[in-house]
Amino acid sequence: MALVKREATVERRKAKVGTKQQEIRFPVVSVILGILSLIGMMVSIWMIFLYAPTDAIQGEPQRIFYFHVPMAWLGMLGFVIVAFAGIGYLVKKDERWDWAARASAELGAFFITLALITGSIWGKTIWGTWWTWDARLTTTLILWFIYIGYLMLRSYMGRTPASARAGAVLAIIGIIDLPIIYESVNWWRTLHPPAQVGVQDALPPSVVLTLMVSLTTFTLLYSFLMIQLYQLQRAQTLAQQLRSSIE
């Protein structure tokens, strides 16, 4: 009798999974975003390397700026999304908010790493050193640590509501702390000769345009990747659910 019962539950479960699969529609939004990102990338690369003028002081290496800024921007935006998705989860208790948080955390961590690398390379070309403790770069590094801490925490705690809550709390504290961290490092830096990795003076319009295009492209790319990672989180949760219901 026990065996019959078990077979019946397996049948019922198969039916449930079957209906879920029928619900998946053609990913229109994803495809559109993907195509737009691709076009945007091609346009951006052309603009960055051919359209934008060569910097008088820094020369060709200055073009890293068009990559570095969007990446840093996305790293920041990513964390803001993690924090808001965290708030959403704490309020609504719907795990989809948590999927968005985890997706954005992975993506944001990736872009912040790239921002650090490009910032470091850029710094090398201007100042001759791979690292300088200026306010922006330092805050980026700290954000990187917070991201890593978040990912480690989520990894250790698994896919449980407690894990989602802990992640949300970390992200909320982090996002409130970030401006304070930036200011404190800024104050600290005023005591040392400034070695800013960034732009100080007014920028010519062609530079601004290139930067805007690059920013838009990267944001489109980010949105596209977000959707993919969100779906991946959803799939991973479903997989774990199925796995544990069989055991």
């Binding site: 704490l90 700290i142 954000l143 640590f145 917070i146 890593i148 801490g149 480690m152 925490l153 250790y156 705690m157 407690a162 809550r165 802990a166 949300a168 709390v169 970390l170 909320i172 504290i173 982090g174 409130i176 702390d177 304070i180 961290i181 200011e183 404190s184 490092v185 104050w187 600290w188 005023t190």
Partner: protein, 221 residues
């Protein structure tokens, strides 16, 4: 039972337990002193650069000792990994947070009180109790507000000893910068120094409130 009396009841319970087991204080205190001694050897301190190194060494010792203490105090509340015995009671979770925060500050405070004179002796720097007090107070509060919240988070994982510093260090950067600079200014007064105490105070107020609100999400199962 009022909110405040709940806080005090839990705090008093924690103090009594710690006085009996003596586990946390002794290890924290010893640790702080060891760090200071090692720093003395690690940095060859001559008269001219002492003022530059001393505040940093002191606060590094305090931060590391704090992390040790934070882990211990939350661990002592757990019985085989859960805080059931406290969670069963009709006590406001914010009160639990405050009690744990005050307990942590007390533990770290005792270590600081012991370490400061020894620090002054080792580094042969004068320390002004009056003016140093607000710096140490605000700095310790900053570390403890974030630390108490995250010790509860890290305690739920297996790798709690490793995870706690990874989570806490980046977040307390403003406090560390402020405390070190403020202490340094005390030893070697400088002009045009940013308002570090103000920064630390703002940090403490903000994160005390936020952590108190977030604590219940962290300890509820």
């Amino acid at each position: 039972m009022t909110f405040l009396s709940q806080v005090l009841a839990i705090l008093w319970k924690d103090i009594r337990c710690e006085l009996r087991s003596k586990q946390t204080w002794t290890s924290m205190g010893l640790f702080a002193l060891l760090v200071l001694v090692i720093f003395n050897f690690a940095f060859d301190l001559r008269v001219d650069n002492k003022a530059a190194i001393a505040p940093g060494a002191m606060w590094v010792a305090f931060v590391f000792a704090s992390l040790l203490g934070l882990g211990r105090t939350i661990a002592s509340e757990q019985e085989k990994g859960s805080m059931d015995r406290l969670m069963l009671c009709p006590v406001d979770r914010k009160a639990i947070y405050l009690a744990k925060l005050l307990g942590n500050m007390l533990f770290i405070g005792v270590v600081e009180v012991v370490a400061l004179p020894i620090f002054a002796a080792l580094f042969n720097v004068p320390f002004f109790t009056g003016e140093l007090l607000p710096i140490v107070l605000l700095g310790t509060l900053g570390i403890a507000t974030i630390g108490t919240l995250f010790s509860a988070i890290a305690a739920a994982t297996q790798a709690r000893e490793v995870l706690l510093p990874i989570l806490v260090f980046p977040l307390i950067v403003p406090v560390v910068i402020g405390a070190v600079r403020a202490t340094g200014t005390l030893m070697v007064p400088s002009i045009n120094e940013p308002p570090w105490l103000g920064l630390m105070a703002a940090f403490d107020v903000i994160f005390l409130s936020v952590s108190m609100l977030m604590f219940e999400y962290v300890i509820e199962e």
